[in-house]
Symmetry: C2
Subunit: 199 residues, 2 copies
């Protein structure tokens, strides 16, 4: 027999479903979990269950939140004239950590992708349009992946938002800090040239 006991095999299988975790890594994690005391395993299992049950999407911006309205949307100190549109909550937090942005957010929950069968209706676009109706918002900043899906989504949003008389901008495309110019691809470089700024 070269077969693991069924509960161990099941654990390896479940861990192996996580992104970037192959069979070997899943085995290593499973054996680690088995070797830990009961309490550590309970804490991990409990944290997974608790995160799923206690975290929901903010009713307004679809950020992950414990409350119906997330702390960002509820914060009276945030600039309510600007909404930054991102694809996923993790991107929102990345932007928050820059301390550069003090407006509101809107999480789409994905990007338009005909290949993967993601249509505009599958994203929180209608909810975004609803938010824009109040007249409070003056600028929508698109912070979407500079890839095919991100571009398609950006174009779609521009066509929907611009007629409302709201400014639509997008974050700059260019050379990442600390990167050699020599290593930049030509498309990025031409975007960087077009987006040049006065010194």
């Amino acid at each position: 027999m070269a077969q693991y006991p069924e509960p161990l095999e099941a654990l390896i299988r479940e861990l192996g479903r996580l992104p970037g975790i192959g069979r070997k890594t899943a085995e290593r994690l499973a054996f680690y979990i088995l070797k830990q005391d009961e309490e550590s395993a309970e804490q991990l299992a409990g944290a997974i269950a608790a995160a799923k049950t206690r975290i929901r999407e903010c009713r307004i911006c679809y950020n992950y939140s414990e409350d119906e309205v997330c702390p960002l949307c509820a914060d009276p100190g945030r600039d309510r004239a600007t909404i930054c549109v991102v694809s996923q909550p993790q991107e929102l937090w990345k932007i928050e950590r820059t301390n550069e942005y003090h407006g509101l957010y809107h999480v789409l929950g994905g990007l338009i992708s005909p290949v993967e069968g993601v249509a505009p209706e599958d994203l929180h676009i209608a909810a975004l349009e609803e938010r824009l109706k109040s007249g409070e918002v003056k600028e929508v900043i698109l912070a979407l992946d500079p890839k095919v899906e991100g571009e398609a989504t950006a174009m779609f949003l521009v066509r929907r938002i611009r007629p409302l008389g709201i400014r639509v901008t997008r974050i700059a495309l260019g050379i990442p800090l600390g990167r050699d110019l020599e290593l930049a691809d030509e498309l990025t470089l031409s975007q960087a040239l077009r987006g040049r700024s006065e010194l």
Copy 2:
């Protein structure tokens, strides 16, 4: 605010305790788990809990098992005259997969390590000696890491087992298959020379 909701932070923290999972990877896994449907998360949490509650150590060899005695110890087809000693259950399964060995096993649960405070009493050595008393066992094969701790453990076991009139062997040290001789370290190479075999 650049802080995750508490249940998300807790999940990242718990995932980050796993070996080889840094903060960044833990974040990526946590966001993935949140994005999955409720059922997938429940399956993962359930698999962790089930593995811990349903798997125990075999009463005889300390291999992981669902039953009091593991399928290997219970298998009448195995050669009961040989016991292969390993440090961890995962090593047992590695050896099983070679299809080269058909005897029994004994899992020590670690290696003697004064640095990490692991003494012989912390390992399943007394249980091994108990098994050897029956007189049925003719050979004990040591399959321990060829490192300081493995050597120390091997030496300790040799001193305990040899007086019982039982043969103690260890798996060969040498050059791994497919590896360039040029890359082998001198200690391994000298072990490989000493352990040379007739062609």
